[in-house]
Symmetry: C2
Subunit: 397 residues, 2 copies
């Protein structure tokens, strides 16, 4: 059994705060603070350039990739860290399209994170030659998979509602029709059990600053299925993905396997924070996390619906069909969330009208779920959100 | 007058070390260690998701870009931080090629950093349609500029020898022939005066972990000349470069100006370290840095040549024609550098036979330059490098 009291003690959570935005930015793991301080002083400060070897900086992207891999059903040597999720989406899509050269259509849905769609638009703008991005509603994805599609590119968990795609079923249908798949696990990794191997996913990408608590702008990851790893051409062919980076050849030659998905010099400080953050998963069962996440969200939904009749559930009611977050709609959603934050309950707002709450069993329990609902009730009952200071601003939330 | 005793005190330099590898990885600025610790505890730890606004994380890439811009002759609002140098090369080249659509040739030289060439090869592999990369010797670049060339892409300072291209003259010739320019300032920014505006450069890119001391894998920068900034299409069109990232539109629309060259979520911890590192440049005149750099390298060359007749100068003897580094050739270069490092003089080795020394007036003085030459003399005279432990390994140096 996972000891959630123990995992909770690993995080710094400010007094008086109920933090329900770990699906946007996980809180500070105490170990990350300590490890980064040590890395700066002892490794960068003390070892200087030698740190690339002596402190293992050079191999971090692969070693940490293996740690992330364990959380998403990826075998050792199939995941590598670096860059941002947007860049990893580009890498995966550019490679996937070349593996399926007779087709020109990228299929995605309107529940994909917009940056994924933007990156596809950017790539297609460069490729020209008839490539198109086709975006359908989430519920229409399955029917839209046909033999015109080159690549199906989806985010497993909808960032707005938490609606969960059936990765295995959609991948199976895609493969039956000659379509390759890219799964964005931004809201999946660390949120629920993922088994890329069992699902036979072709590519997967994700970020590490949400449920993996790697810190603001933490490095992203990319997975390439072993059956493709030696075949893919990296479009972003940087020196760290070269077969012999320090031979300084003038011509690119890809490194074996997943290493070719490395690009530039790895972000060592950020990777160090992430490595420490991943310690929180030692001894944690993702099945236990999933079970507790569903319980907590079911509890939170029941409490909110009992207390706040004006809020409309925007997430699937069935726990098996949603990720580890829950959203409610209200025309004054933005102001309500501002009022909540002012009372110490931190969630976030997603346009046009959704207040969104991340549920993260590593450091969130039943007590907080109930407290958050109570405070939400206060706000709704007294219309505490109806104040000028909570009016919508062009804010980053 | 720049007070180099004062700048020196800003860095942590291990006892007994002569650090001549600041052209590969600058040393730890004491302020970076302090600032990152504070950012982790107070901003990430204390402000959580709110840090994007309250701690200014969201605007870091632009604000720090402006700080870097001051060091390279770039007006405010023309430089933005993010990603790695390899990614920024890709961005610049993809955009530049689209600005010159009737031509298909990218001209570069064999003294460009290999990753720049690799990224060009990767992009060309995606574009197809007859695009080619033409690589000539550095001394043949000028003659190779003709009206077949779309983009001239060069690193100003040769990473191997320090040989300096004439940015202004080459850009002028390029423009006269309808060619756009991309300048990689990896070994220029913080090393010598750069004036992108005066040179009329079209694009510039660079890293910040060398002379700018931002830490291992620190974020890169990109400059787009104001005359192009509203015209370029970003091929890597991520949400942070969108005109309204938090509107979550399904279609990409570029942000005004340089902001469109942002891509994914910015690496906040790394940007914080870099921001603190840049404080070292407050009150520093780049002309003073340049003057002292040339003096120190002239001194070091004289001392080495007097003491070590077997080492052959691989860098331009004329200080005006080189950057802030100097290299010597020897068939046993790798082992010599290993022996030097064992004696506390840290430079690096670049295949096939160059030992390379970065000279960084912010924290390196005459005394160290002479001491390094003395230790090098010891090693050469006693053939101290001829030991099994210094034999070449497949190491990252």
């Amino acid at each position: 059994m996972t000891d959630f009291a123990k995992t909770r003690a690993l995080f710094h959570l400010p007094d008086g705060v109920v933090y329900m935005d770990g699906n946007s930015l996980g809180p500070l793991p105490i170990a990350a603070k300590e490890r980064v301080a040590k890395m700066l002083a002892d490794e960068w400060g003390g070892q200087l350039i030698k740190g690339w070897n002596s402190a293992g900086w050079y191999v971090q992207p692969r070693k940490i990739g293996d740690r992330v891999g364990k959380l998403i059903g990826a075998p050792q040597g199939t995941v590598v860290m670096g860059d941002t999720l947007s860049i990893k989406v580009f890498q995966a899509l550019a490679s996937a399209l070349e593996l399926n050269p007779t087709r020109k259509v990228v299929l995605s849905d309107s529940g994909n994170f917009p940056s994924d769609l933007y990156m596809a638009q950017g790539l297609i703008g460069s490729l020209g030659q008839g490539y198109v991005l086709k975006v359908v509603e989430p519920e229409d994805v399955e029917a839209a998979i046909d033999d015109s599609i080159a690549v199906l590119m989806l985010t497993e968990v909808d960032y707005r509602t938490g609606r969960l795609h059936d990765m295995k079923a959609l991948t199976e249908k895609a493969h039956a029709t000659g379509v390759l798949t890219i799964w964005d696990l931004a809201h999946s990794a660390g949120a629920l059990p993922v088994d890329l191997t069992a699902a036979q996913a072709d590519f997967a990408v994700g970020c590490t600053y949400k449920y993996l608590n790697g810190g603001p702008g933490a490095p992203a990851f990319i997975y390439v299925a072993p059956r493709h790893a030696e075949a893919v051409r990296p479009a972003l062919s940087g020196w760290m993905g070269h077969a012999a980076p320090f031979a300084f050849d003038l011509d690119y030659a890809p490194a074996p396997g997943i290493e070719r998905m490395r690009c530039g010099t790895p972000p060592v400080i950020a990777l160090t924070a992430l490595d420490a953050a991943l310690d929180a998963w030692d001894g944690v069962s993702m099945q236990d996390v999933r079970k507790k996440s569903i319980e907590l969200i079911d509890l939170f939904i029941a409490e909110v619906e009992a207390r706040c009749p004006d809020l409309v559930l925007a997430s699937p009611r069935d726990g098996a069909k949603r990720g580890s977050q829950v959203s409610f709609r209200h025309p004054q959603g933005y102001a309500i969330m501002q009022a909540l934050i002012a009372r110490g309950v931190i969630g976030d707002f997603r346009a046009p009208d959704a207040i969104r709450f991340g549920v993260t069993p590593l450091y969130l329990g039943r007590e907080e779920a109930v407290r958050a609902a109570e405070i939400l009730e206060d706000i709704m009952t007294a219309r505490l959100w109806d104040r000028p200071e909570y009016l919508r601003k062009a804010a980053v939330t």
